[in-house]
């Protein structure tokens, strides 16, 4: 199982049952995961395509979409931030 965290506006369009998912056999990388999510949840896919999205894997920033996703990972999807 992989834990998925959707922050900010992504949380509005991601259904709760995506919080923990069993990945299909053909999802190996972060890029595969993004494609699979966009296919499963078109609204979420549109939201992520419309805005710069940062990915955090196991609480570490990653820019490499070819990085593998493994069972037990936590992957967070971050839209642009607005603190302060």
């Amino acid at each position: 199982m992989v834990r998925l965290v959707f922050l900010g506006k992504f949380g509005d369009v991601a259904p709760p049952d995506l919080a923990e998912v069993s990945l299909p056999a053909d999802v190996h990388t972060l890029k595969d995961l993004q494609h699979w999510l966009a296919h499963q949840q078109p609204l979420l896919g549109q939201a992520m395509a419309a805005t710069p999205t940062r990915l955090i894997v196991n609480q570490c920033v990653t820019h490499d979409l070819s990085a593998p996703v493994r069972d037990g990972d936590e992957v967070a999807f971050l839209p642009p931030m607005s603190g302060g």
């Binding site: 965290v5 922050l7 900010g8 506006k9 949380g11 509005d12 805005t51 955090i56 609480q59 967070a76 971050l78 839209p79 642009p80 931030m81 607005s82 603190g83 302060g84």
Partner: protein, 153 residues
């Protein structure tokens, strides 16, 4: 240096008093408090919700603060940031810097606020009578962030 992300309302004056209590090593204190406004860009705000990513948000803010502390040779910094549901009039963020001289304390607070606006993993959603909207950094926030980066030596 202290960084706190909290669901609870806080009293900025009390926080600053606790931060400076017993300190005789600093010649300057500068503090900034950001408040939730009752209207933003002419749109009424009844409630502000700030999302965070527990663990990651605290670490990232601490990293930004540590960066600023070293850059301006500031002996101490305090950051308190609200998350969850906030109402107009309540404090959202407090940044305070204790330093030997005023210039570095002013600079540290200004630059850390610029960083928080664009780089802190926090997401604001305003709700009012006309509905809800997610807030994203404005072009001027990014411009200030770039300006702050340029000043780096």
């Amino acid at each position: 240096m202290a960084v706190r992300v909290t669901q609870e309302a806080f009293d900025p004056q009390r926080e600053v008093a606790a931060f400076t209590a017993g300190r005789d090593d600093a010649g300057a204190l500068v503090s900034f408090v950001g408040y939730c406004r009752a209207a933003n860009d002419g749109v009424a705000v009844q409630e502000l919700r700030i999302d965070h990513y527990p663990g990651f948000t605290e670490r990232e803010i601490a990293r930004l603060a540590e960066d600023v502390r070293h850059r301006f040779d500031c002996p101490d910094l305090l950051v308190v940031h609200r998350v969850g549901t906030i109402h107009p009039g309540e404090a959202i963020v407090l940044v305070a810097a204790l330093s030997t001289h005023r210039a570095s304390a002013f600079d540290a607070v200004r630059v850390l606020m610029d960083y928080l606006k664009t780089d802190a993993p926090l997401w604001k959603k305003e709700s009012g009578p006309d509905g809800a909207r997610w807030i994203e950094p404005r072009p001027e926030d990014h411009a200030r962030r770039l300006e702050a980066e340029k000043g780096r030596t």
